[in-house]
């Protein structure tokens, strides 16, 4: 376990730094490496400094934090459901958070209230999906995915309704945010706070999650207090998803792609996979956002479009392979 932990952090930490540097260097204007180093040392031109430090850095940090959160949320839910197809976007958590946030915004509430509303929406979605899919027996992949997809579709309808009754001037911004858009992210630090907190919580919980992945009965027989742990994960997943949605809107599939790729390389120890998913998710979303800014520059794509283009094939492949 120690070896794969060191390997994972040894590879992913430098890669994270590199991803952020790439995000700083590329955009509608590319900045050569020499100029970028100058800016970081505080010696660059005024234009470059403004571009890098005031526009690109906060955005890169926001994308990284949100991606990390989505990666961890996916990894947590996959353990809880013992199913690699679980993901906050597929299961409708992101939809719940979006509806909560939209309602609060339309009501003209404060940013804090919007966050609370997003969390409430995500938690409600979690309870509905897990409650209904649980039924009397254990979760089956089909039952769970169907419940999640239907709940997500329900949230989608509510979102359409809210958009239909919204003031026309606000529509483009809302639409972009819903599709997943980092350009509105201003303050990345609350998301970083949640990310660090979640990873610190996940590390001591990791071994328990390894046992829980064997099923609730086996876990209980090995000394895990299953119910409290499950509820901790429900609430944590809702909090994480809501924080990510507040930051970058409903970006899908990060929680699906990242833990899956990492498992192929680093094995299945949650003590490795959870922190690795935080870094891997951060890297993916930072690079995806850079791509979204540069592909049709000076126009920008919503980052959710990029992650969906990557995520849909991965999801279908996983579903195909699981028969």
């Amino acid at each position: 376990m120690t070896r794969s932990f060191l390997l994972a952090t040894g590879v992913l930490l430098p890669a994270s730094l590199l991803a952020i540097l790439i995000a700083l260097a590329y955009g509608s204007v590319a900045i050569p490496a020499g100029d970028l180093i100058a800016v970081i040392q505080g010696e660059g031109s005024r234009l470059h400094s403004t571009l890098v430090l005031e526009l690109r850095l906060p955005r890169a940090l926001a994308a990284f934090a949100a991606g990390g959160l989505l990666g961890v949320a996916g990894a947590l839910m996959q353990v809880l459901l013992r199913n690699p197809l679980a993901d906050p976007y597929v299961l409708g958590l992101s939809g719940g958070a979006s509806v909560g946030a939209l309602l609060a915004m339309l009501a003209g509430l404060s940013m804090f209230s919007v966050s609370v509303a997003a969390f409430t929406g995500a938690l409600l979605s979690t309870v509905i999906v897990f409650g209904l899919a649980h039924g009397t027996g254990s979760w089956t992949p089909t039952r769970l995915l169907l419940t999640g997809v239907v709940v997500a579709a329900g949230w989608g309808a509510v979102i359409s309704f809210l958009l239909a009754v919204s003031p026309t001037a606000e529509l483009p911004g809302m639409l972009y945010w819903l599709m997943g858009d980092v350009s509105h992210a201003r303050n990345p630090y609350p998301a970083w706070g949640v990310l660090v907190l979640v990873v610190l919580l996940a590390l001591p919980l990791g071994r328990t999650l390894n046992v829980l992945a064997r099923g609730p009965m086996q876990a209980a027989a090995l000394g895990v207090a299953v119910r409290p742990v499950e509820w901790t994960i429900y609430v944590a997943a809702a909090l994480i998803t809501a924080t990510a949605v507040m930051q970058v809107g409903a970006v899908g599939f990060v929680g699906l792609i990242v833990p899956h790729m990492l498992r192929l390389v680093f094995g299945n120890d949650q003590r490795v996979i959870l922190p690795a998913s935080a870094l891997g998710g951060g890297i993916l979303l930072t690079l995806a956002d850079t791509l979204a800014r540069t592909m049709i520059a000076p126009e920008q794509l919503p980052v959710g479009v990029i992650t969906a283009m990557l995520g849909v094939p991965v999801f279908l492949f996983l579903l195909y392979r699981s028969r």
Binding site: N83, P204, R207, G215, A220, A221, L222, G223
Partner: protein
């Protein structure tokens, strides 16, 4: 072990359709005692209360047809299901007084089915048996690894430690589950059909090892489908009838052919090998 023989008088008695249970009062060393225990099976209106006293050095066998509640009883004893009525005491303390982690150091359970959510290696799977002994921030020590490897070697799995569990055969997976509970090293082992899917050699190897563990200060409770293996390896038997009735006691008092025939609803022939009675199903 003294040779077990069926009571010849009862053997010929057509009215002896059931046996008398033999109660033992719990003592200070008793590992597990039940009082007035009725397991909760939703479709069943009533069941006879079970009063078990499991002492160190004992190996109990649970026999009964499909659906008699054998697994449910094991899960209830392990605190994984609520009983309908009655109490369970583990080493003198009632079950609700234990935290799950504390209980997992006293009592280990091998399930009939094994779920592997994500592919893990054989060694990682055996190692989760150390979970009850580790605090949240602890990482498995060399000693924990040594115990897991020793258990794998006991179950003939040492060579497979780097294999992924989803590539194992049914019998190998079953032995891995037993290796995991050996790594857990509890004082009371509850095993739900530990010999299912095992070839003959491994059935005997597993039962020999469990019997060896259950000498000394430990005990085991095994759900078995093979009456003859139960006769060989278990010093006490609990017979669970489909109607919810149950009787229990030392093995030699329980081997009444008519009772076993009623238990399985199957005519049986009786022979003898090595001084043990052998029961062979007869076609109707």
């Amino acid at each position: 072990m003294p040779p077990h023989t069926a009571d010849p008088q009862r053997h010929g008695d057509p009215h002896a359709s059931s046996t008398e249970s033999v109660h033992e009062a719990p003592g200070p060393d008793t590992l597990l005692a039940t009082h007035d225990l009725v397991i909760d099976i939703p479709e069943r209106a009533s069941g006879s209360p079970i009063e078990l006293t499991i002492n160190p050095g004992q190996c109990w066998g649970i026999l009964g047809p499909n659906g008699a509640g054998k697994s449910t009883l094991l899960h209830t004893l392990a605190g994984l299901r609520a009983a309908r009525t009655g109490e369970i005491h583990v080493q003198g303390r009632s079950l609700p007084e234990y935290s799950r982690a504390r209980l997992a150091r006293e009592l280990g359970l091998v399930f009939q089915k094994h779920h592997d959510g994500f592919p893990a290696t054989v060694l990682e799977t055996a190692l989760i048996g150390r979970h009850p002994y580790l605090r949240p921030w602890d990482i498995e020590t060399a000693e924990d690894y040594a115990q897991a490897r020793a258990a794998l070697a006991r179950m003939d799995l040492a060579e497979l430690e780097h294999r992924l569990v989803d590539t194992l055969s049914g019998g190998e997976r079953q032995r891995l589950a037993i290796a995991t509970v050996l790594t857990q090293n509890p004082r009371l082992l509850l095993l739900d059909e530990p010999t299912s899917q095992l070839d003959l050699h491994h059935q005997i190897a597993v039962l020999d090892h469990i019997r060896r563990i259950a000498r000394g200060d430990r005990a085991a409770i095994l759900v078995l489908h093979d009456v003859n293996l139960a006769v060989r390896y278990c010093d006490h038997l609990l017979l669970m009838f489909p109607d919810g009735k149950a009787c229990w006691g030392p093995t030699r008092t329980m081997l009444v052919p008519s009772a076993l025939e009623r238990l399985y609803n199957q005519p049986l022939g009786v022979g003898e090998i090595d001084g043990y009675p052998v029961f062979m199903p007869r076609p109707d």
